[in-house]
Subunit: 298 residues, 4 copies
């Protein structure tokens, strides 16, 4: 069993750290929130007084932070962990940040002889709690293999997309595509409903035809077609509109940098931004279904 | 075994009629093309001298025609089949036309006491030849049940979406969604490629994540990721860009009529129209992958 | 001075009829609303007991109605005016309807030897009251010339776009473009504001640069940049979002019919439909400015 | 008359420097191209052997460079001009770069006590040659006033949008709006043409209606409507598609940074990128007119 330092105990990081303890690992955690630390302590984690303590004797340091500047702040700069990390520690950043920052972090840690992988996740808070996350990794093959020791206790799939940064790229490609599936499926269902079709029947038909996609399989955006999904629970829980808007912003940054043409992804960014701006940022991202409600005829 | 009249022996209708013969039915066909009639004769069909002959003694009259006005021309008007059809014949129109025309046709035939279902197909020329089409039907439940006698010899799935016209609505909803899946998947793959990812690896990751959809499963738009699909054959064969543009036009007509908001479907209509206009109308619709190629940096 | 029959006394038609009286014409009106008739009587019009009376001795019959089926209902069919109109009467339809219906109406009236022009207007309720409307006409040159006798008393510009129906086409082209100008100008101003620019200064700069357009000249969508426009009056009055959505629907119908590629116009249709659906249908169309408010950063 | 250092003698910078000489200023130039230097010498400029020479005794240093990293390279870093510039010199950067880089440059020069304004231009190569450019400036009011001494010899309009960086913001807002005007006007004209209207007549009508905008006034995208514009010269010359795509990329960067919702600007970026990718990058940006040609009916 491994010795693990864990930084960032939010809605995702908290349950991930708890699952590591369940897996038998020795876990030392750090967060700025006392409440989060208290919960982690109750789950069996040791609590570090300051961030640098999590590196002591660690086989792995794992971070799960909100955005690029938090990650840069933790690892780089004058007080960054790159000064205290041992060359035998593998750094695994599970945050969703830009590929550029991930690559930069990998390169700077490498200069100090420290191995790094980016390993953003999909699966949401539910997957974090259930230990069924998917990790999409970027880094050396050997490093990704080594990381499985801990990743397997927090998730059920570990993919390697390529070198450092590739995990972030693959994740935003997937999430950009997911936003397109969700918006497109919502439109198709609403168009059918507007013409008198039963959304359950239409969902079933498209599921068995060339319209089949993940949202029809497990995350139908139309209320009361499927049980146990956010759309049947007033769009509470799940993956927030605000977070989808953030990921789509990262996707467009990547597209701008590479000159990629992404008409569909540009449109979904604007749809999700508008939807958030209209007050739906804290709803599940399948609530975009409501956004494409047909205009009532006058 | 049934007596069937079959009108319209194009790329789809020809093999469909042939499969009916293989299924043991007595099939009389009509088409304006001598070559098509000759092929049908070789496949075991009887050839009608004029269109009205196909109704004689028919349990079913099936039509597979290019557009609304052909269907209206065959069944309605002074010389339309509604004058010669028997009340014991079930009319099955497999053409992809507007829901409005399908409903009108159903209503007018009903006035003469003739039963009607619309039964547009998905599965393309390959499915027509292999007898694995999907039929998406609109009409009375009893009529759809009765139609299975012949539909099952041409396809493997028969869905009922609702009353007359509902088959057309469900089909365009599905195909609008399909266009969104195809364009979105193409963009996501191109964005990954632009950032150095291997499209096979990225496809595999998204297939097992929330980006999963029909195109990644069986119709990957990126050349050489998958065998036996149009993208690996220079985008030849398959479902033409021109036909997708036609279906997306029908979808937008339906959206305009109902006041539905379809930002994604409007965009794919414009993408497919532009792509056709740029000379790619006769390529498979997965060729939209080439349309979102990143701009070469200067 | 002319004898005029006038059908349809809504927000536009009422003041137009009144201006004809001021111009010295003899005006007989018809509407289903008693209140509207009362107002017209007060303005000096004669009131017809039924619609066919307005044709009696009329040099011109002018109609200003909400949609295609109202226009068809008035002129065509068993009780249509085409039965009572004299060959010396010029029919001027000022409604905004599809070009197709206008062409059909022109053709059917021509069969009875009656001259017709379509003459949709721009300028809104304000222009109708002030007598400063613009008429965009379709029909024979001589008919358009003849119509000036009355059009000049209701407006200040009379254009001829081509034959019957061309007035409607030109109007929807113009209004589709207007929606693009409005949405684009709103976005540009919001982008500047989000980066700390003063919208008055930015408006002034773009007005004198290549971003110059009608909205910056006379209809700035940002509150308090310009006096006397809807944006400075809580978006009350002006040209309603619902009406813009209607015109954009007509534009997309025309695009679908002709195979035109209109990515911008498709997008504005969806923006205006969503905006209406979100409860802003009765606000001025410049309220789309609020729709593109930047998302507040978390 | 002033002593001026000028860096960057491309299609824009060359004629701008020549106009300064005509205005009576003493101009020392630097560029990496021998040919450009030779032309400048012929126009009466002194030629610097290396870039730092242009700062000697200069009242103004003006730069006109392709992109952010060129500007940063010239002014900042170990060999940057910030080391040799005098506190009495006003730096005027006329390049079109990100507002972020402009602000950074202003701040870093200010630390050395050197005044800076960003002053991107509109008006293109034609305006540069004719001395009729528009300068959109960001910086202190006094600095912008002082800059007029030289700007007035290269252009006819000088605007101040706000503090350092504001010039860049205003320029990209304007150019994003311009792309929307151009694409929207192209669509409207094509829609009219597809319905049989004469583009000259339709242009004239919209020019006098609410569709009026800069492109209809001076830069009609439809061939042979207007003389002396790129559309009437096979889309040669003018403002290149590649450059518009670059500016739209800057606009989207700014939108991403601020959370602005720009559905129209996102779409035009994708349209211009696709158009460039299809081989039209070196044509004038009004060639987007060809992109929205109606699909030929089958």
């Amino acid at each position: 069993m491994a010795t693990v330092g864990f930084i960032g105990l939010g809605n995702m990081g908290g349950p991930m750290a708890a699952n590591l303890v369940k897996g038998g690992h020795k876990v030392t955690v750090f967060d700025l929130s006392e409440a989060a630390l208290e919960q982690a302590r109750a789950a069996g984690c040791s609590v570090a007084g300051e961030v640098s303590e999590v590196t002591q004797g660690a086989d792995f340091v794992i971070s799960m932070l909100p955005a690029d500047h938090h990650v840069e702040g933790v690892y780089l700069g004058d007080k960054g962990l790159h000064k205290t990390l041992s060359k035998t520690t593998l750094v695994i950043d599970c945050s969703t940040i830009s590929a550029e920052t991930a690559r930069k972090l990998g390169a700077e840690l490498q200069q100090s002889g420290i191995e790094f992988i980016d390993a953003p996740v999909s699966g949401g808070v539910g997957g974090a709690k259930a230990g069924t996350l998917t990790f999409i990794c970027g880094g050396a093959e050997s490093a990704v293999e080594r990381a499985r020791t801990v990743l397997n206790d927090m998730g059920k799939n570990v993919f390697r997309a390529g070198d450092a940064g590739a995990g972030q790229v693959a994740k935003i490609c997937n999430n950009m595509l997911l936003s397109v599936l969700m918006a497109g499926t919502s439109e198709a269902l609403q168009l059918g409903i507007a013409h008198g079709l039963d959304p359950k029947v239409l969902s079933e038909i498209m599921l068995q035809s060339s319209g089949r996609n993940w949202t029809l399989e497990v995350y139908n955006p139309c209320p009361d077609v499927m049980e146990g999904v956010p759309s049947s629970n007033d769009y509470q829980g799940g993956f927030l509109v605000d977070l989808m808007a953030k990921d789509l912003g990262l996707a467009q940054q990547a597209a701008l940098r590479s000159g990629a043409s992404t008409p569909m992804g540009s449109l979904t960014l604007n749809l999700y931004r508008s939807w958030a701006q209209l007050g739906h940022g804290r709803e599940d991202f399948s609530s975009i279904f409501k956004y494409v409600t047909p205009q009532t005829k006058k």
